[in-house]
Symmetry: C2
DNA sequence: CCTACCGATCGGTAGG
DNA sequence: CCTACCGATCGGTAGG
């Protein structure tokens, strides 16, 4: 009997990636075996290899799926009719939301890059570079003193990423401080005096009354 | 002929740790075999096991040796007859120096903690906590608004560690920006307005002309 | 989609 | 009789 692709093919692939992210985050890419992954998915090793040609392909899927989410945020922010301050705020808040919502994938992305084959590693690094570049340009726009000093601008950019990327080692979403609050603190440190939203006060709130005080949700979807 | 412990016993142990740090940083604790380590040390696997009872003991030695260096800095700074601003500056600069000078160990400490047995992991975490606590207290002393808000103080502390710890992913000691300059930028972000040294300026440059513009080197040793 | 296996390599230990 | 150190190989398990 001829079989076409299972109707839930994509769902199964995604389920494998989800479990892989959990396992790889917990015991590392090398520490988690394909047999472990199969067990976590309540199937066989062979089934895993039906959906992905190799363990490394699964690692790649974990990383790229996460990175694509972050890239979507970057595209959305690039399209925003807003000033740099508001763009940077939106971006950092969205990043923190994804870091928390996909903490396993974030940890895997940060810790297991060396286990990717060279070509795919380069692809991941290229995507990261685009994201870093956008943040870099926003910082330069916001801090005029950085425009004249590229090296210093890069340091500021990477220190900002350090602040938010490092959260995966200590931040507890169930703790007293929210991801948005952490984002606000990081933003205030990197761009002192920037207000919690909207960024350029002057007079823009005229027609828009009753927005959420520290709004961010505005960009969530609808 | 009777043999006592080799005269260079400690040197050999340290050489193993040094090579292990290099290998574990490059391919990960699980990715590097004891055979690889033996080859890197130009000896046999059995020799490795003569000096360390297990692979995990070597990982522990890599981490603790590095952490002890950082703890020494903390003790030294605690004994300094200086104000909090100068203490924090000294500490952050020394940390960055060690991160660069022992980049392999730093990377292993940050990435391979999960591969330590529970008891020793707890020991490492306890040492880290002491270091974090000292930085936390210095920040609270420097930023009065944090004294009333413990949660916020913790966020500031961890964001500072994020800035400097994350440098292992991007900082190039041969690049245009020095480790001391990165430390200065991080310090200026976390404690705005703090001067590059000495911390309490008022009038101290009187007798010292012609210093480097963005000086920092002053603290390197002499 | 499973059981049965493979070539290789793992961390650790044997005798001498 | 001790410790230092070697070549060889153990029982299990890895990805495929």
């Amino acid at each position: 009997m001829a079989r076409t692709q299972a109707a839930d093919y994509e769902e199964r692939r995604e389920a494998i990636v989800e479990q892989a992210a959990r396992l790889f985050a917990k015991t590392g890419f090398l520490g988690a075996s394909v047999a472990d992954l199969a067990a976590a998915c309540a199937t066989s090793k062979s089934l895993i290899y039906h959906y992905y040609p190799s363990k490394e392909d699964i690692l790649y899927a974990v990383m790229i799926s996460h990175l694509d989410q972050l890239s979507e945020d970057v595209v959305a922010v690039t399209a925003m009719p807003a000033d740099p301050a508001e763009r940077l705020q939106t971006l950092v808040h969205r990043f923190m939301q994804h870091y928390v919502g996909a903490a396993d994938r974030q940890k895997v992305l940060l810790n297991e890059l060396d286990n990717l084959p060279l070509e795919r590693r380069a692809e991941v690094v290229a995507k990261q570079r685009v994201i870093i570049g956008v943040v870099h340009d926003l910082l330069v726009a916001l801090k005029p003193e950085l425009a004249a000093d590229r090296a210093r601008a890069r340091v500021h950019t990477m220190l900002l990423f350090g602040m938010i990327n490092w959260t995966h080692t200590w931040f507890d979403p169930k703790g007293a401080v929210s991801a948005d609050e952490v984002a606000d603190v990081a933003l205030d440190l990197i761009v002192p005096g920037g207000q919690p939203f909207p960024a350029t006060p002057v007079r823009r709130r005229v027609a828009k009354a009753a927005e959420p005080a520290r709004g961010l949700t505005r960009h969530s979807r609808g």
